[in-house]
């Protein structure tokens, strides 16, 4: 085999393919039945990934401050549904404080520039 950019990828991919076949074979020959899966909250996991994906997608358009504020408010609401005015005050406080603190610490003190919004210019 000639040494070139394709040399190592071929080896790695061949090994990966072999191991993947091994996993399939091991699964095929294993006799144990699957234990009953625990009741898990997969809906919430999917929703969290969804919101996070939207957040990542929205960052360059809304800018760090607006997107982060909305993201934290949304996830905090989803994870712990606020009850009454006090609950919503908590959501507002958590999202505003986090966004402001993170923004100031990074932009002002640590010279990390966070994304500005293409639509909002903020």
């Amino acid at each position: 085999m000639p040494i070139g950019p394709g040399y190592y990828p071929r080896i790695v991919l061949a090994i990966t393919a072999l191991l993947a076949a091994g996993v399939v074979a091991a699964d095929f020959f294993s006799r144990k039945e699957q234990p009953k899966p625990r009741q898990l909250n997969y809906g919430m996991v999917a929703a969290m990934f969804g919101v996070f994906g939207v957040y990542c997608g929205a960052l360059p358009f809304l800018g760090f401050r607006i997107a982060t504020l909305l993201y934290i408010a949304a996830t905090n609401t989803m994870l712990d549904m606020p009850k009454g005015a006090k609950g919503w005050a908590r959501v507002a406080a958590v999202s505003i404080i986090t966004t402001v603190v993170v923004y100031y610490v990074f932009e002002r003190y640590l010279t990390v520039l966070l994304p500005r919004g293409r639509w909002t210019d903020f």
Partner: protein
């Protein structure tokens, strides 16, 4: 060596370094104590804050997190019976019973003092062994490096609890990530899928952050996220005679030394980490004890073994990363990333090329211990108050900091997308029983494996050299042996499981 260490300690005592070390230790203690937040996650959260700092300031901060986290984890383990982090699981076995029997102060401080002593014992080895090991590694040619990395990967893959094939596949997938984009030897783009940004290759830090943060957080969320740990309603009396507690530990020198030694060795072995160390040390303490049946009811030996080993484990991990440039676990992998960001080459040349930085790291490790001790003297109580912060607040904040960290790495959204993809991948891998440690090690070592493989074959086309060069041959033999040992271990465990299942039909 001692001159350099002395200079390192004196240098570290400067406010410039003590402040990050202090803040790191404090965050580490809190992060370690918070159930559901691992030290890895804490160090990931801290990472973006270190970008703007000097390398040594950033590393001091991370070492603080590491030491503080290992110690902080025992607070929740002892007082709530919930391990604050995986490497404090064994501490709950005896720490919580002792605390519930009316001696919370004794349980807590036995753990804290054992942590500090174990950590400082580890420091001796860290300082004494890293240099010589790096010297040894300097003799390595590409063959030896290649074999060393293969050994690291096969050991990690073999040490996972689930199937060995899945562990190996996980490591191979990690290497697949590194073949994307860039050929590290010729610098030629490959497999870029037409994405211009991929020509530089996939950066490993966002992959690591995504994989670990999401696997952990989503794993907690699926179990329903609302519950925060039970708060101890009555004020606990943590008063205790420190002389007595210290004597309890020091009157068992063999236990302390052996547990620390186990922690160290496991730390030196790549990517296994503290969770294995504390279980193994606890098990050993039980085996050597004159009254093994009392373990689990609140005996001091259990706490001492578990806590001294997981702190010594930190020193072991630092040895591997500083001498060979191979991360001993996820925390040191993040440190490796931080070094790379600052353009510092890790590997056996690290100590000789950056003596100030290296001895500064030793100094930070040593000084973190008294700092953590003072912190806990003053504020154990407050840590218990912070632990009740609800996860519905913690998780979004942690994820936002992950995004900031990823974004700041390249000042581009591309790294954030890598984070997102890795997050989904990490969660799915855990769900389907693929261990994360070999994957990450593959991502970190993949390029190095390729470089050394190609370099050795270009130097001499004879492939047998990998086996006939003595060090390389021994390393490869060791990696075969580690896989064989893993197979044997799995066999035995499966037989045991099958026997258990026969006896207990309900299970």
């Amino acid at each position: 060596m001692f001159e350099l260490l002395g200079a390192g300690i004196v240098g570290m005592l400067h406010v410039k370094y003590m402040v990050p070390l202090f803040i790191g230790s404090l965050i580490g203690v809190v992060g370690g104590a918070l159930p559901g937040i691992t030290i890895t996650m804490t160090v990931i959260v801290v990472l973006p804050f270190t970008f703007g700092l000097e390398p040594l300031q950033g590393l001091a901060c991370m070492i603080g997190v590491y030491v503080g986290g290992e110690t902080g984890g025992l607070i929740t383990s002892c007082l709530l019976g919930i391990p604050g982090k995986p490497s404090a699981v064994a501490t709950t076995f005896d720490g919580y019973p002792m605390a519930s029997k009316g001696e919370p102060g004794r349980a807590l401080w036995l753990g804290i003092w054992a942590s500090i002593l174990g950590g400082l014992l580890g420091a001796v080895v860290l300082v004494a062994a890293t240099g010589p090991l790096a010297q040894l590694a300097l003799e390595f040619g590409p063959w030896e490096y290649f074999s060393l990395f293969i050994l690291a990967l096969s050991m990690v893959a073999g040490l996972v609890e689930s199937s060995l094939v899945k562990g190996l596949l996980s490591g191979a997938l990690g290497c697949v990530v590194t073949i994307l984009g860039n050929d590290p030897v010729m610098g030629q783009p490959r497999l870029t899928l037409g994405i211009e940004w991929l020509e530089g290759g996939v950066p490993f830090l966002p992959v690591l952050i995504g994989v670990f943060a999401f696997a952990q957080i989503m794993g907690e969320i699926e179990k329903s996220a609302k519950d925060s740990p039970e708060v101890l309603t009555q004020a606990v009396n943590l008063r205790v005679s420190h002389v007595k507690v210290l004597w309890e530990i020091l009157s068992r020198p063999f236990l302390l030394l052996w547990a620390s030694f186990i922690g160290l060795v496991i730390g030196v072995l790549p990517a296994i980490g503290g969770s294995a160390a504390n279980m193994l040390a606890y098990d050993q303490a039980k085996k050597f004890s004159k009254h093994p049946e009392k373990f689990g009811t609140g005996v001091p030996e259990g706490i001492i073994a578990s806590e001294s080993s997981n702190n010594a484990n930190v020193a072991g991990s630092l040895v591997t990363i500083m001498a060979f440039g191979i991360p001993g676990d996820a925390v040191t992998a993040v440190m490796l990333g931080a070094l790379t960001i600052h353009g510092i080459q890790s590997g056996p040349l690290f100590i000789s090329q950056n003596p100030v930085l290296a001895y500064g790291m030793f100094a930070a490790y040593i000084l973190a211990h008294p700092l953590v001790l003072i912190m806990l003297f003053v504020g154990v109580r407050w840590v218990m108050k912070i632990v009740i912060v609800p996860k519905s607040i913690l998780y979004p904040v942690v994820l936002v900091l992950c995004v900031v960290g990823a974004y700041a790495l390249g000042n581009s959204m591309a790294t954030v997308y890598v984070l997102l993809i890795s997050g989904v991948l990490g969660y799915l891998m855990v769900k389907f029983g693929y261990p994360l440690a070999p994957f990450i090690l593959g991502v970190i070592l993949g390029d190095q494996i390729e470089i050394n493989l190609v370099r050795s074959i270009m130097t001499d086309a004879n492939p047998w050299l990998f086996l006939t060069r003595p060090i390389s041959g021994v390393l490869l033999a060791a990696s075969v042996a580690s896989i064989a040992a893993a197979l044997w271990q799995h066999r035995r465990m499966q037989r045991k499981l099958a026997a258990d299942a026969d006896g207990d039909a309900d299970f």
